[in-house]
Amino acid sequence: MDINFIILKFVYAAIVVSVIMGLCSYAVLAERKISSWIQGRVGPNRTSLPLIGSIPVLGPFLTRLGVFQPIPDGLKFLFKEDVVPGHVNKFYFIMAPVISLVPALTTVVVVPFGRIVTDAGEVVPLVLANVNVGLLFLFAISSLSVYGIVLAGWSSNSKYPFLGGIRASAQMISYELAMGVSILPILMWVNNPGLEGTMNLFDIAQAQNGFWFAMWMPLSAIIFLVCLFAETNRLPFDMAESETELVSGFHTEYSSFKFGLFFVGEYAHMVIGSCVFTLLFLGSWNPLPFVTIDMLGWGAGYIGAALSVAIFLGKMCGLMFFFMWIRWTLPRFRYDQVMKLGWKILLPLSIANLIAYVFIIYYLDTSL
């Protein structure tokens, strides 16, 4: 492993992380705009940049669209007063936002976001680390982020964050079970007997050249999606925050940049969650079911690679839109309803789904 290789990996990592951060900041803008459109409002429409804002038609249009809004939003997080209340446990209070953001950014490492055909005709994923246990790694790391929320709730040493932390931990642990069980049918289907076993996300993505998994495992997809909402703490499952009852939940005591880390962490989780759902269920970079880029004849070289990335990001953005769309459609569940849904409905349903697919896959593998 020579030094160039390591530097190249660093550069790739920097690019991917900055793209994710950019996506996060524009996801915040998209959230604000979509919220306001659904509610019959206008949304952020004032922020303008000196030069671009004064271009005749384009400038006012972009300003009205709020395109420059993420810049002051980000600056605000940096320059506001950073209050650390006297009653908190300082060490864990400062550590909590870091712990909640780092797992989200770490999981990016194993998520393939496109594919490229090499000169040798081999299809290679565009990914930072093509790990064979990709999916397992992803679940292991992303479940760590609950520690950030629990720590924030606990170290804040006041009642609302504490309640938020408790709720978040209960919820995330309960939904992780159903989430894990719901993807087992996919792994069974991808790992044909006689082949080398894999949990590689790229292999799972490439297995969807025909049917997308959302089409022939719809129940898995729905359970996974519901759990994804719960895991990312999005409405209707934002028990941890639930601003109408708990002020702001686990980050009540946080301000300025520390709050910004939580905020970005939430959106980073959304981005990664959407990526994973696209990879597992929505056929990743295949434009349509049964149609791959290679079949259309555009799959070769860098153009094919760019096209695959574009399709993947497009699907991911669609899913992000779905996240925001759901937010203004469904009211928040009550805490006991969340627990009931998780333990009494989703978990048994996912197990039944697993058993059903065990028989279906067994039948398909043996008789066909």
Binding site: S36, W37, I38, Q39, G40, V42, N45, W325, I326, L330
Partner: protein, 178 residues
């Protein structure tokens, strides 16, 4: 008496929740393309209804006479004591010398004013009117006190139905009291 509202029992499709979520999503999706109802304030202003109580002002009648005769009823009735009047005499050589009195100073402290409209209601001369302006701002407390000049500038001229003092003058010229 208690009223029992009968709820229709949910059917199977409603109980599995997902079709209903889809219906809700359709509703919000339609709203997504709806026209915003926002009034973009500084550029667009609301239409002010008839009888709106905005900033209190002093008005002149169409002949250009200051209608206020500094009777100080408004000063007396003003609940937050926002009005301060210093009465004065109208000079002998004025066109309106027969009115005799007018305000020498007239201050309304807009930091105290509660826009109740009692001054307008109590005024026997219809000299003080609450008009349409509702958005006031200033950099200091003294800037927020409207003096006489400012009040007339805000008030302008309003039509007069009576020309009370003119009639009085004409009646006096004929020799009758009224």
């Amino acid at each position: 008496m208690s009223i029992v509202i009968k709820r229709k029992p949910l059917n199977f499709l409603e109980r599995i929740y997902l079709p209903e979520i889809a219906r809700g999503l359709a509703t919000t999706f339609r709203r997504l393309w709806g026209k915003p109802v926002t009034l973009e304030y500084p550029e667009q202003r609301p239409t002010i209804p008839e009888g709106y109580r905005g900033v209190p002002t002093l008005v002149k009648d169409p002949e250009g006479r200051e209608k206020c005769v500094s009777c100080q009823l408004c000063e007396f009735v003003c609940p937050p004591k926002a009005i301060r009047i210093k009465p004065g005499a109208i000079s002998e050589d004025s066109e309106f010398a027969h009115v005799e009195k007018g305000p020498q100073e007239f201050d309304i402290d807009m930091l105290r004013c509660i826009y109740c409209g009692l001054c307008q209601e109590v005024c026997p001369e219809e000299a003080i009117w609450l008009q349409n302006d509702y958005s006031l701002s200033g950099y200091s407390r003294s800037e927020m006190v409207n003096d006489k000049e400012k009040l007339y500038e805000l008030g302008g001229t309003l039509p007069d139905l009576h020309f009370k003092w003119k009639k009085k003058q004409e009646a006096a010229a004929k020799g009758s009291g009224h």
